[in-house]
């Protein structure tokens, strides 16, 4: 019995050690980034340091000078990403909830087909029809505008799937019946009774849709060409240019600025996010 207990403790120590190592591994690159953002280029070339330097303001100044030639500032790019991600997120959760509710609460002829279709297209990635999309947007004269980056939010099958699963557990059909007896119109019922009941699902999915849109690089690269309209991820791509590669301090400070918003958001919302990922998996 005693040796059993000792074995158990030994395992606990080992597992904790491995997990702590993995947690440090998650943080290390970001820590090195923040440290290097405060060091001069020559210090950085000299090797790794775990202690902060004194050159943060100099690096920020040099970064400010270097981004002049790009046609957009990092804050401008962040604002652009925000302008796209907010309407994208709102459209995505609203229309997904509407679609899921339509399929969950009503009986209609094509219901089975509609649900089958949504399940089938869930796995089709944007990249495979990007060429057709690009040409179509040229024909519609929407290229180099934000519309092509926002409109696809109406059709996010994975979110519809999640919302329907949620409705099954959270919305008894009797509530809708009761609303009808009270004389509430169908659309009114959805907006004033169903949506508030779906708040937890809407919030979780909103976080993921926002993150997805904010981090997207492929579609903005395809659609946006004016420097002034570039998104944050496109700005990061511009940091690979020769003018930045010369000064490591500038690169690290630039990266730190681009990562900071997501970093802060994650540590505020991490609990929701971790829960949301677990819910998003296959459920039977």
């Amino acid at each position: 019995m005693k040796s059993d207990l000792r074995e158990l403790r030994r395992r606990k120590v080992l597992r904790n050690a491995v997990l702590i190592f993995l947690c440090l591994l998650s943080l290390l690159p970001f820590y090195l980034m923040f440290v290097n953002a405060t060091r001069t280029s020559n210090q950085i070339k000299g090797g790794i340091s775990f202690l902060f330097g004194a050159s943060l303001s100099a690096n920020l100044r040099n970064f400010g000078d270097a981004q002049v030639g790009l046609g957009i500032s990092v804050l401008g790019a962040m604002l652009n990403s925000f302008k796209i991600a907010v309407p994208f997120t709102l459209l995505s959760v609203y229309f997904s909830a509407l679609t899921a509710y339509g399929i969950y609460a009503y009986e209609f002829k094509l219901k089975k087909f509609a649900w089958g279709f949504i399940m089938a297209v869930m796995m089709v990635p944007t990249q495979v029809f990007a060429i057709g999309y690009y040409r179509f947007m040229i024909q519609l004269k929407l290229i180099d505008t934000y519309w092509p980056l926002i409109i696809p939010a109406i059709t996010t099958p994975a979110v519809v799937f999640f919302m329907r699963q949620y409705l099954q557990g959270a919305l008894p059909l009797e509530i809708i019946e009761a609303a009808r007896i009270d004389g509430s119109g169908e659309f009114h019922t959805f907006n004033t009774i169903v949506l508030p009941l779906m708040k937890p699902a809407l919030a979780t999915q909103a976080i993921f849709q926002f993150v997805f849109c904010w981090n997207n690089l492929f579609l903005p690269t395809l659609i946006i060409s004016s420097s002034s309209k570039k998104t944050l991820t496109m700005f990061v791509q511009m940091l690979t240019a020769e003018s930045f590669r010369a000064d490591y301090g500038v690169v690290f400070v630039g990266l730190a600025i681009t990562i900071l918003p997501m970093f802060i958001m994650y540590f505020i919302l991490s609990r929701f996010i971790v829960e949301g990922v677990s819910l998003g998996g296959v459920k039977e």
Binding site: S26, M33, T126, Q127, G281
Partner: protein
């Protein structure tokens, strides 16, 4: 009985609302996904030739496909090369990813060796997944470039030679990109597997305990078989996502000048980078590459659904077996 009838009557009279509510999704999907997909197929059969700023379009049959597959004279099989690169980058990340995720998920759901701080571990292990991939890729590039801090520390310790450089070695570059992918995604897989493991009926473990099964036996004979649907889901979503791999290789060690060439020597260029490279200059070829990528993605999904359905039957059997086990345990 009466209530049921009136319910059905109601559902008939309200049916137009159901259709109305799903209509925006379908209209938008047909316009902005299905139509582009169909037109991508269409474009793949045309040759786009630009001379003196004017582009002429000519039907060319399967010429674009022959070109990208290297079957035409003087053409290199770029599609196959880049597909090979993409698969190499994906496999090198996926195998360690799923193994580590299984191990950690088993640890975090273990009832015998109870760990504290589980919530914190989950939060930190998942974190890299949320951070912008483009920034992460460039961060690793800056840290690992020849004059960067990591390499110079390793040089000064004498771990690597003076001329060692990740960016000029095919395998070092591939392994780094795969490591970034692994590091960003194993937390996600861990959380999905934990959800799967929590869904397994606890009485199965009790029954196994009564039979004197060791932790290892329980993992291999109870957890793993019952986890198959979740594992399949992780595999397929990762494979489909992996085939579209873009952000990380597009920013890590690429040639300057916007050509989207994955260095060294084109060995880290992926299929989607090729599509992006061609999209403005050669619509036909880019479309052919997209169609090939779509067909591969489709094949993987179909395979998944078949295996999954077979597995459903298997699962139901296991479910019955478990109920039987429960009864036996009670008896």
């Amino acid at each position: 009985m009466k209530k049921e009838k009136s319910g059905r009557l109601k559902s008939v009279s309200y049916s137009k609302y159901g259709l109305l509510f799903v209509l925006p999704f379908f209209i938008a999907y047909i316009l902005f996904s299905l139509w582009p997909l169909i037109s991508t197929f269409y474009y793949s059969f045309f040759e786009y030739i630009t001379r003196n700023l004017r582009t002429s379009v000519e039907f060319c049959g399967f010429q674009n496909y022959r070109n990208v597959l290297g079957l035409a004279d003087g053409e290199r099989a770029y599609f196959l090369t880049y597909l090979g690169n993409t698969l190499r980058l994906w496999i090198l990340n996926f195998i360690p990813q799923v193994l580590l995720a299984l191990l950690i998920a088993a640890w975090l759901t273990d009832n015998r060796v109870k760990l504290r701080r589980k919530g914190l571990y989950k939060v930190l292990v998942y974190m890299p997944n949320i951070i912008t991939a483009a920034s992460i890729s460039l961060l690793f590039y800056a840290l690992l470039s020849k004059l960067g801090p990591v390499m110079s520390t390793l040089r000064s310790w004498g771990v690597i030679g003076a001329s060692a450089d990740v960016m000029t070695s095919k395998w070092a570059t591939s392994l780094t990109i795969s490591f970034i992918l692994f590091w960003m995604w194993y937390g996600n897989s861990t959380l999905l597997l934990i959800a799967g493991m929590m869904g397994i009926n606890a009485s199965l473990y009790e029954a196994a305990d009564i039979d004197g099964a060791t932790g290892r036996q329980k993992f291999f004979y109870v957890t793993l078989p019952l986890l198959k649907p979740v594992l399949l889901y992780v595999l397929v979503t990762s494979a489909i996502g992996g085939l579209q791999l873009y952000d990380i290789p597009a920013l890590f060690n690429t040639g300057t000048g916007g050509g989207l060439i994955g260095l060294p020597d084109d060995t880290s260029t992926t299929v989607t980078m090729y599509i992006m490279r061609l999209h403005a200059s050669d619509t036909g070829r880019a479309a052919a590459v997209s169609v090939l990528l779509f067909l591969i993605t489709l094949a993987i999904s179909l395979l998944f659904f078949r295996v999954f359905q077979d597995d459903r039957g298997h699962h139901a059997r296991l479910g019955r077996a478990s109920r039987r086990g429960e009864k036996e345990a009670q008896a």
